[in-house]
Amino acid sequence: MSADSHPDWHPGTVIDVRPVAQGIQRITIQRPPTRRAHPGTHIDVQVDIGGEPDVRSYSVVESNEDGSQITVSVLLSPQSRGGSKFMHRLAIGDTLLTTQPLQNFALGQGAERYVLLAGGIGITAIIDMARVLKSRQVDYEFVYVARSRELMAYLPQLEQLHGTRLRVHVDDEGTGLDIASLLTSIAADPRRDGIELYMCGPIRLMDAVRRDWLSNGLAIYNLRYETFGNSGWFEPSEFVARIPQLDIETTVGTNSTLLEALNAAGADMMYDCRKGECGLCQVDIESFSGHLDHRDVFLSDRQKQAGSSICTCVSRVAADKDDPTPVLTLSLP
């Protein structure tokens, strides 16, 4: 919500680090007190990427009463551009710049039933919502999915706190989530219009849920999700971007976004959110090779399938085995 969206940067000190699952580090940072972080909040952290400062957002997993101790949990991503590597190198006593908890994924009140869906590291955005829903004594169901049990942070604590309200699905144990049946059961509930679903996870999971949510005739505004625009349907690969009208041709590396590359090449790009939500950075596509990897939530499925425009802040084209360096040609209006 707007009231909590203006970042206020302060130095913080790492006071605890510990692994909580395979490749997931739990990091607690001491910073000036503000207020208890509400569910759905994240902090922005200034990270160091090859000597250059950059900003990453991490969901707040735990907070003390005055928000002076904020805990995040970070998955070391093999495709990381360097943010998660930086976070995993942190040790007790290190200092870093962070914002206060910022709200972009607020938990509403008054729904008749809540469904929470966390996929893998997406648990970090959902875990505190579940705690609050339990304390509010409302009807909720908490679905936690992952490829394997070793990758599931906080599982024992969650099983203890949420009991039978927690449903765990693990792909490599053969108990993977059947999205269609989850969504059918929501649609069949007599309270269907009073059910809100909050989710955070890989884009494939969220896209599939969104598609089934709509095909079941559920109201799109009851589906809430957060995306940092950093996961796609394809591995990021290098590609060439062209804007013939501006005589621009540039290579977009795996550690850069299309928006950043075009901007660096001299295009005066318009943008705002930089996470695929607002649509200000969309540009018309003249042609492309390889696969279009739409990572935004601005364009509808129909628009994504049409392939005639792209949100440059998060979306890319991905290589194909026959086309190792695809080319994306953009056109200005």
């Binding site: 909590d4 509403g108 008054g110 505004y221 364009l299």
Partner: protein, 380 residues
């Protein structure tokens, strides 16, 4: 030896308000499903309306997009508000449901939806941490809609800090000086009173004035029940304070010596002055009041006469409170000093101060309303 805390923050002139509390935002009849009402509570602008099925809703009164006031918009469908500027729509949970010129809705677009409850003829909102908003915390004002009581009231838009009104209601010795023509009498400030901080967190101030001539307001009331009555009365004022800002005053007179102080009020008339005060800003308040009675319930004319009578009395308070706030602002280097008669008001201030301490570290910076002198506790 114990060290006593300074009372500096307790005697603050511009008293901060707790956010984790229910505040009356409007009378039940003011909020409809025909249109929106703009009203500020605890410095938070709210757009108020009812859904098609009658449920009260309080949304933050600024569109997520460019902050245009939603209260200037219109109601659509079962529970939605349309922004007057670019047509974004929000449901009663504050979630954006439609955006112009795009096929999707930004997944994070929403405005605050404050918990809102209808009770005792008022709509109550909770401006603070909504996870703590338990409707059972709404103060007991059951006389407002209990079949054993009748009456009505009005709202005063008071140009003063809310605590000045609480001070006013917790110490009724001012009646002698402010309300000399209606309810005041010299015996008020001469009579004994007692303040108690009750186990349930409320404060009670009890005052009995025995064997006195009834002032004009009470002579009229007792004659409504006992036509032609003349003579002396035992008069009572029992003030009940419920945090943060509700005061219900049990008032009445009974024929002198008929046992009212001991519990037999059958030879008297009993009213309840219902007051709930909502901070609008640091220096303005919505003051909702009503006068309820438990006799002659059938008489609409008595309801109207009492409402008009109390309106006149409270008009005298409003003029004093406005002048007091102006004097406070005109004398920034002068402090408050306390009198014996302030004990009820000082208990209220201490309770509020504790509520503020409890939530002071957890409130958002932009609505920190604690004055600098109160934070440090040092001399200002």
């Amino acid at each position: 030896m114990t060290t006593l805390d300074s009372q500096q923050s307790v005697t603050a002139k511009i008293f901060p308000f707790p956010l984790n509390a229910w505040y009356a935002v409007a009378w039940d009849h003011e909020i409809t499903n025909k249109g929106l009402l703009a009203r500020k509570v605890a410095s938070l602008p709210m757009a108020l309306y009812r859904t098609a099925d009658g449920r009260p809703v309080a949304l933050g009164d600024a569109c997520w997009h460019r902050l245009a006031p939603l209260s200037m918009g219109k109601l659509i469908g079962k529970d939605e508000v349309q922004c007057p500027y670019h047509g974004l729509r929000y449901n009663s949970a504050g979630r954006c449901t439609a955006m112009p010129a795009q096929e999707t809705v930004n997944p994070s677009a929403m405005v605050p939806s404050y918990p809102a409850v209808e009770r005792y003829r008022y709509i109550w909102v909770w401006p603070g941490d909504m996870t703590l908003a338990d409707p059972d915390l709404i103060p007991d004002m059951h006389q407002m809609d209990d079949p054993g009581w009748a009456g009505d009231g009005l709202t005063i838009e008071a140009a003063c800090n809310y605590q000045l009104i609480l001070d006013n209601l917790m110490d009724l010795t001012h009646e002698e000086f402010v309300h000399g023509s209606s309810i005041g009498q010299a015996e008020l400030s001469e009579s004994e009173f007692r303040s108690r901080y009750e186990d349930d967190g409320s404060v009670t101030v009890t005052r009995w004035i025995r064997d006195v001539e009834p002032p004009p307001f009470w002579l009229k009331n007792i004659r409504d029940k006992f036509p032609g009555f003349s003579g002396r009365v035992d008069r009572w004022q029992i003030i009940h304070y419920y945090a943060p800002s509700t005061i219900c005053i049990d008032v009445g007179v009974a024929k002198a010596g008929t046992g009212a102080p001991e519990g037999d009020r059958s030879q008297g008339v009993n009213g309840y002055v219902m007051n709930t005060i909502t901070p609008e800003t640091n220096r303005t308040s919505h003051y909702f009041w009503a006068f309820m009675r438990n006799y002659r319930l059938e008489s609409q004319v008595i309801t109207t006469q009492l409402r008009k009578g109390v309106e006149g009395v409270f008009g005298e308070d409003e003029a004093m409170l406005t002048a007091q706030q102006e004097a406070i602002d005109a004398n920034p280097h002068h402090e408050f000093y306390s009198l014996n008669v302030d004990s009820g008001g000082m208990w209220v201030r201490r309770i509020l101060d504790r509520m503020l301490q409890a939530e002071s570290t957890t409130r958002p910076a932009e609505i920190q309303n604690r004055p600098a002198s109160a934070v440090g506790g040092g001399p200002s």
